[in-house]
C-alpha cells in the first residue's frame, strides 16, 4: 500500500471517530500527517492524554471497507491530496479557536458528478427553515441569478431557504451543492429525499461525516463552517434571531468571506436576524441576485447599474423648461408673471415654456393662470 493510500485510509478512520472540526485532531493531522497520528493512537491508545476516546475505538474501524461500501453507493472520499480538493477550505486551518470545532475537515465525502475543484466561484444562500413565501421567493431569485452568472450555489438541505435556493438554481440549470450534517447517503429531512437524490445525480451532496452518520445540532454548527468556507460569500435571506444561518454568517465573516443580507419587513420575525447583521455592519444589504454578483464578482465584472426611478417626462425637458415647471404651483394657479418671478426668468421665455409644457400635458391652464397637471408632481 502506498503512503498516499495509507494516509487516505487514516483520514477515513480518524474522521469516522472524531467529531467534525475538532481542532485537536485536525491540528495533529496537519502537523504529523494522518498516518502517524493514526498509528500512534492505535499503538499507544493516547497522544499526550488527548483523544483517548478516539484511540479506544480506532481498532474497530475498517476504513478500506468504508471506502469500498461508499464507492458502491457512488460516494467518493476527498482529501487535501486530491486534485479535486476545494482549496478554499484551507482557510479553516487558521480560523478557529479550539472550543468552536472550526478546524478543517479531515476529508469530504461527495456524492454527485460536480467536481468540487470546479466550484471556486461559489455563493452560499442560507436562511431560516421557517421561511416566509417572500423569503423563499427571494432566495430562489438570488440563487437563479447568481447561478445563471456561473456561480455554484451552496446551501444546506433544510426546509425553507435552503430548499428554495436549490430549487432556484436547478430551475435555471445552474450548479448547486448541498452540504449535510449527516452522511451523504442519508436523507435528512426525509421529505427532501427527492431533492437530495436529484442533487446526488446531477450536482453534488457533500459532508465530512462518513456515510451512515446521523445529524446532531453540533454537527450542524460544524457543517456551517464548510458552507461558509466553500464560498466567496454568504447571502442570508431570512434568519430569525437564533437561526443557524447567523452561525454560517459568523463563519463567513471570520473566514474573510463576504456576508450579505436580504432585508424584509421589520415586522417579520424571520428577517430580524438579518436586520441585526446589517445594522451592526456585519453584513451588506443586498436586494437582488444582481447586487450579490456585484459584491462577489471580480472588480468590474458584475457592475450593477444603481437602480434609478423610471425616466419621467420631466427628465426630457430642457433645463429652462424644468426651471419653469418647478416654479408652477401644485394646487391653485399662478399667473405667468408670478411664475416668472419664482423661476427667476423673463416673462416671454416663461410664456413660451408654459405653452410647450402644456403641450406635453405637464401643466394646465386654470382660472388663476397655470398649475401643474395632475400627474406632473414628483
Amino acid at each position: 500500500m502506498s503512503a498516499a493510500e495509507r494516509e487516505r485510509l487514516a483520514r477515513v478512520a480518524l474522521g469516522r471517530l472524531g467529531e467534525p472540526g475538532d481542532p485537536r485532531l485536525a491540528g495533529l493531522v496537519a502537523e504529523l500527517g494522518a498516518t502517524v497520528v493514526h498509528d500512534h493512537l492505535v499503538s499507544e491508545r493516547d497522544l499526550g492524554g488527548v483523544l483517548s476516546d478516539v484511540a479506544a475505538r480506532l481498532s474497530d474501524t475498517d476504513p478500506a471497507r468504508d471506502l469500498e461500501q461508499a464507492a458502491r453507493l457512488g460516494i467518493r472520499f476527498l482529501t487535501p491530496a486530491d486534485a479535486e480538493w476545494p482549496a478554499a477550505l484551507d482557510d479553516l486551518t487558521e480560523a478557529a479557536p479550539v472550543q468552536e470545532r472550526g478546524g478543517p475537515p479531515l476529508g469530504l465525502w461527495v456524492r454527485g458528478p460536480l467536481r468540487l475543484d470546479e466550484c471556486a466561484e461559489a455563493v452560499a444562500v442560507v436562511g431560516s427553515r421557517p421561511a416566509t413565501t417572500y423569503g423563499a421567493d427571494v432566495a430562489s431569485e438570488v440563487a437563479a441569478a447568481t447561478g445563471r452568472a456561473g456561480l455554484v450555489v451552496v446551501s444546506g438541505a433544510a426546509f425553507g431557504i435552503d430548499q428554495a435556493a436549490h430549487r432556484g438554481a436547478i430551475a435555471v440549470g445552474a450548479r448547486t451543492i448541498a452540504v449535510l450534517a449527516c452522511g451523504v447517503d442519508r436523507a435528512y429531512p426525509a421529505a427532501h429525499r427527492d431533492l437530495l437524490h436529484h442533487l446526488g445525480r446531477e450536482a453534488a451532496v457533500v459532508s465530512e461525516l462518513a456515510p451512515g452518520s446521523a445529524p446532531t445540532r453540533l454537527r450542524f454548527l460544524a457543517r456551517n463552517r464548510l458552507i461558509a468556507g466553500l464560498t466567496r460569500g454568504t447571502v442570508v435571506v431570512e434568519a430569525a434571531l437564533r437561526s443557524g444561518a447567523l452561525n454560517t454568517a459568523n463563519w463567513a465573516s471570520r473566514l474573510h468571506r463576504h456576508v450579505l443580507g436580504v432585508p424584509g419587513p421589520v415586522t417579520s420575525a424571520p428577517s430580524q436576524g438579518v436586520h441585526q447583521l446589517i445594522r451592526s455592519g456585519a453584513a451588506t444589504l443586498v436586494t437582488s441576485g444582481a447586487e450579490v454578483l456585484e459584491v462577489l464578482g471580480h472588480a468590474g465584472e458584475h457592475l450593477v447599474e444603481v437602480p434609478r426611478g423610471e425616466v419621467r417626462s420631466r427628465d426630457r425637458l430642457t433645463l429652462r423648461q424644468q426651471q419653469v415647471l418647478d416654479a408652477v404651483p401644485l394646487a391653485s394657479g399662478a399667473a405667468a408673471d408670478s411664475i416668472a418671478r419664482t423661476a427667476g426668468l423673463g416673462l416671454v421665455e416663461v410664456r413660451s415654456a408654459l405653452t410647450r409644457l402644456q403641450g406635453q400635458g405637464l401643466v394646465d391652464r386654470c382660472p388663476g393662470g397655470w398649475r401643474l397637471a395632475g400627474l406632473a408632481t414628483g
Copy 2:
C-alpha cells in the same frame, strides 16, 4: 423704529420676494444685515447685478402689514435675533453650494403654541406619499416611540408617511411639527386641512414662505433642508427611487445629521430608495423607534438591548447537559454510548443527563435509543 424692528421688517420683505434658500440673498444678508441689503436694493434696484428681480418688486411690499395680518391669524415670524429661533438651522449657513438653494432661511413663519427653541431634540420621520400600510404602520410606531421618549417629531404634511408620522406622535400626546412648502395659513394637500388645523392649535406648523405663498416643486426641495436641519436625524421609512424623502436624507447627511432607514421587502418599490441608502452606507438600518432612539440619543441614554431570540429551555441547561443534548441525533435514535462518544463524555454522566433532558421534554426514548424531542431542534 428700532434697528431690530427694521431688520425684522427687511427680512419679511426680502423673504417674500426671494425664493427659499437662495444662497445669494442669504449670503448678503448674513454679511451686511437685512436692512442694508433691503435699503440698497430699494435705492439702487441692484446689488452688483444680482437680485435685480427682487429689487424691482421690493417697493411693492408692505412687511409691516404682512406681520399684522399674520398676527391676526395667530402666525408669528421668527428671525435669528429671536430667542425662539432654532439654533440648529445655523448649520445651513455653511452647507450649501449656490445652485442648490441651501442657504439658511431669512425667517420662519410659525403657527401653533410649540416653541421652536424647545425642539432641539427632534427627529424627522419622512417617506413616500404612496406609502404601503406596512410603511405607514412603521412610521407611526417610530414617531410614537421617539415622541414618547421626549423627541419632537418633524415631518411634512403630505399623504402617506408624513401623515402617519404625525398621527403616531399625536396618538401618544407627543410634540410634532409640520414644515410646509407653502404659507402656514394654507392647507396643502387640502385633505389634510384638519390635520394642519390640529397641529396649528396644539403643536406647530412652520414655513419660511410668507402666508399665502403657493407650493412648488422647487419649494418642496428647499423645504426638505429645513426638516433635515431642524432635527438630529432623519428616519426614512419608505422612499421609492425618486422620492423627495431621499432629498431630505441627502440634506441630513450634508448637515452631518444621522440618516436612518427602515427596510422593507425587496419586492416593494416604496422601499427601494431606502435600501439603496443603507446599501451605499448613507443610512443606518433601523427596525424600531427604540433603535432610532439609540442612534440619536446621547451616549448611554437610550441603550437598546440587542434583540435576542426568546430564552429556550436549552439555555437553562448546565453546560454538560447542553453538550449531551447537542450530541443527540435529530432523526433516528442513537444509543447512550454512541451519544457519549459524540459528546466526548463518560457513559454514566451521559445516561444521567439524558434522563434529566427527558424530564424536561427535550429528548425522547425511541427504538434506536434516544433522539431529540420534536421542539428541541434549534
